[in-house]
């Protein structure tokens, strides 16, 4: 009798089931990266309160951050599935080239966005099929594809940029890249995309299968999941994200550059890991990666804002990445 009542009492009060604990526990990677960001911001603020109470500084970050977010969120899917993609900068350049061509030819920018999405997803699909069905290492194969696609861009365009000033008066520009009450609309779209990705990751069949495939592909196969197809889809989704990033980056100054996307390779990858997604696959966090992107994109602004010379930027990039990794290592156990 006492035995039974004690068991039920333990059941009702088991700490892992208390809502707050449960929330903290299941989101500890994302909350960890949020803590890193908060501490970093606090340090910057204490160092130079005047500069860091100026909204303009934040608005500037919020204009460029979205481009990274469109690629950071899909990259979490790739890393969770146990792969890596280094070809997204070239996919971004390629998809936005399609966008620029369509707009330059006088078509509506919405048609250009559709073209970018088609090109991006096809490129992602192609890269994914090469890695998966060719049985190649995604690290090396996507590195090769990044060079090859970038090379194609340079060959096709003669390495010349494309100006698309007609974007300025378009509806597409108004609803994606203007400001409303001082808030850049880009960040609104990017946050919507991150929320969508987080739901897809945690509450959709696709996300569930990505987790399982990255965790144990043999088990996933034995349970009837088409492991190869899931992997290819993950790369195709990365292509879609890269296309959106390309469109938003072209909208910033109405120009497509042949180097479009190049600068995002390392910051985007760093964001995913700073955000708390481990490199071994099976688990991760989309929201954490978004916070990671915020952290990474704030480092440069922050370092300059506190009055340090630009030479310090790289050092702080490295410092934040290493400290975050140490934090996550301590914060989450790895189950085998």
């Amino acid at each position: 009798m006492t035995e039974v009542s004690r068991t039920t009492a333990t059941m009702a009060l088991h700490p892992a089931e208390r809502p707050l604990r449960k929330f903290l526990f299941s989101n500890r990677a994302a909350l960890g990266s949020l803590a890193v960001f908060a501490v970093m911001l606090l340090v910057f603020f204490v160092a130079n309160p005047r500069v860091f109470s100026n909204w303009g500084l934040y608005a500037a970050v919020l204009t460029t951050l979205p481009v990274a977010l469109f690629m950071v969120a899909p990259l979490v899917f790739v890393v969770t599935s146990g792969e890596i993609d280094l070809s997204f900068p070239a996919m971004m350049g390629f998809a936005s080239l399609a966008f620029a061509y369509v707009v330059q030819a006088g078509f509506d920018p919405f048609l250009g966005i559709a073209a970018a999405l088609v090109v991006g997803s096809l490129l992602g699909f192609g890269v994914g099929a090469l890695v998966v069905y060719g049985g190649l290492s995604s690290l090396v194969a996507t590195l090769g594809m990044n060079f090859m696609l970038r090379g194609l861009i340079l060959i096709v365009t003669n390495s010349k940029s494309i100006a698309v000033p007609q974007l300025r008066d378009s509806l597409a520009f108004k609803i994606t890249s203007t400001q409303i009450w001082g808030i850049p609309l880009q960040i609104v779209w990017a946050i919507a995309f991150v929320v969508f990705c987080a739901l897809l990751y945690n509450r959709h069949r696709f996300g569930a299968q990505v987790h399982v495939v990255g965790d144990n592909p043999d088990s996933a196969n034995e349970m009837g999941i088409n492991v190869n197809l899931v992997r290819v889809k993950v790369f195709a989704f990365m292509g879609v994200g890269a296309a959106l990033a390309g469109v938003f980056s072209t909208m910033i100054n109405f120009t497509w550059w042949p180097t479009s996307g190049d600068g995002y390779l390392l910051p985007v990858i760093a964001s995913v890991f700073v955000g708390g997604t481990p490199p071994w696959g099976g688990i991760g966090t989309v929201v954490g990666a978004a916070v990671g992107a915020l952290t990474v994109s704030f480092i440069q602004t922050g370092v300059l804002g506190v009055g340090l010379s630009g030479f310090y930027v790289q050092f702080f990039y490295g410092l934040i990445i290493i400290l975050s990794l140490l934090g996550h290592r301590w914060n989450q156990a790895r189950y085998r």
Binding site: T10, A16, E17, H204, R205, D215, E222, M223, G282
Partner: protein, 257 residues
């Protein structure tokens, strides 16, 4: 004669130059427990993986409910009502119990959005039914935190999620405690009582003798013996036969009889 649930006809499988299976016939009838015996490396697990669609046979036919099937795969095997509890349990240890139970069979509404609430309540029900997992764990607990027996419980819960016609258990009692083993036997009898079939693979001949109604002994990729329980006097006779197979290298089924 009742139709076989599944029949494997003249199955061969070679990995490169190594012959794992050289022409095996195996069938399972509705409502029977088949004990599959054999030494390590005899080809039991390969045969089971062919049954489950994980490995493609080099040659041979697979007949399900009287119809020959092509492109047999894990998804088709599960769709045909065959659930397999693999020797390695086929779990994803960094994921929750719920996600493991619904692996490859997620409860989703339109456009693939998951019905998380229903998955959790179903998982709770199954965990109670199995009586395996200790009460400190909830359906959202990570499988990596569970003991071996509890992990086996998750794998079995997954097998009974849908009303399977045939459940294949590949060495389900390996590394389990006595009480956990007893639970597995209880489970097998329950499934048998509900009129469904089981293929039980094991090394412990006493266990297999107790639970099965028909025995198939595999030796070096061939069926060395197939007998009903009524044709065997005791577990001892089965053990002696197995020892005989192990001693006589290169013996064939024909010579034995």
């Amino acid at each position: 004669m009742a139709q076989h649930i599944i029949e494997l006809k003249n199955i061969t499988k070679s990995f490169g130059t190594v012959y794992a299976l050289g022409g095996v016939n195996l069938h399972v009838d509705p409502g029977e427990v088949v004990g599959l015996l054999g030494d390590n490396g005899a080809g039991k697990s390969t045969l089971i993986k062919i049954l489950a669609g994980v490995i493609k046979p080099t040659s041979g036919e697979i007949v399900v409910n009287g119809e020959r099937v092509s492109n047999w795969s894990p998804a088709r095997s599960r769709a045909a009502g065959i659930e397999t509890v693999f020797q390695d349990r086929a779990l994803a240890v960094q994921q929750s119990i719920v996600r493991n139970i619904f692996m490859g069979r997620e409860l989703a509404g339109r456009f693939g959005w998951l019905n998380l609430r229903k998955q959790v309540s179903e998982a709770e029900r199954l965990m109670r039914e199995i009586g395996f997992t200790s009460k400190v764990f909830s359906p959202n607990s990570i499988v990596g935190q569970l003991s071996g027996g509890e992990r086996q419980g998750v794998a079995i819960a997954r097998a009974i999620l849908k009303q399977a016609n045939l459940i294949v258990l590949d060495e389900p009692t390996t590394a389990l405690s006595l009480t956990e083993t007893a639970k597995v036997f209880h489970f097998v009898r329950q499934v048998r009582a509900s009129g469904r079939s089981i293929v039980f693979i094991g090394h412990n001949i006493h266990h297999v003798y107790d639970i099965a109604e028909r025995f198939v002994v595999i030796d070096r990729g061939r069926v060395a013996m197939e007998k009903k329980k009524s044709d065997i006097a005791s577990a001892q006779e089965l053990i002696e036969y197995m020892e005989c197979v192990a001693r006589s290298q290169g013996v064939t089924a024909g010579e034995m009889e």
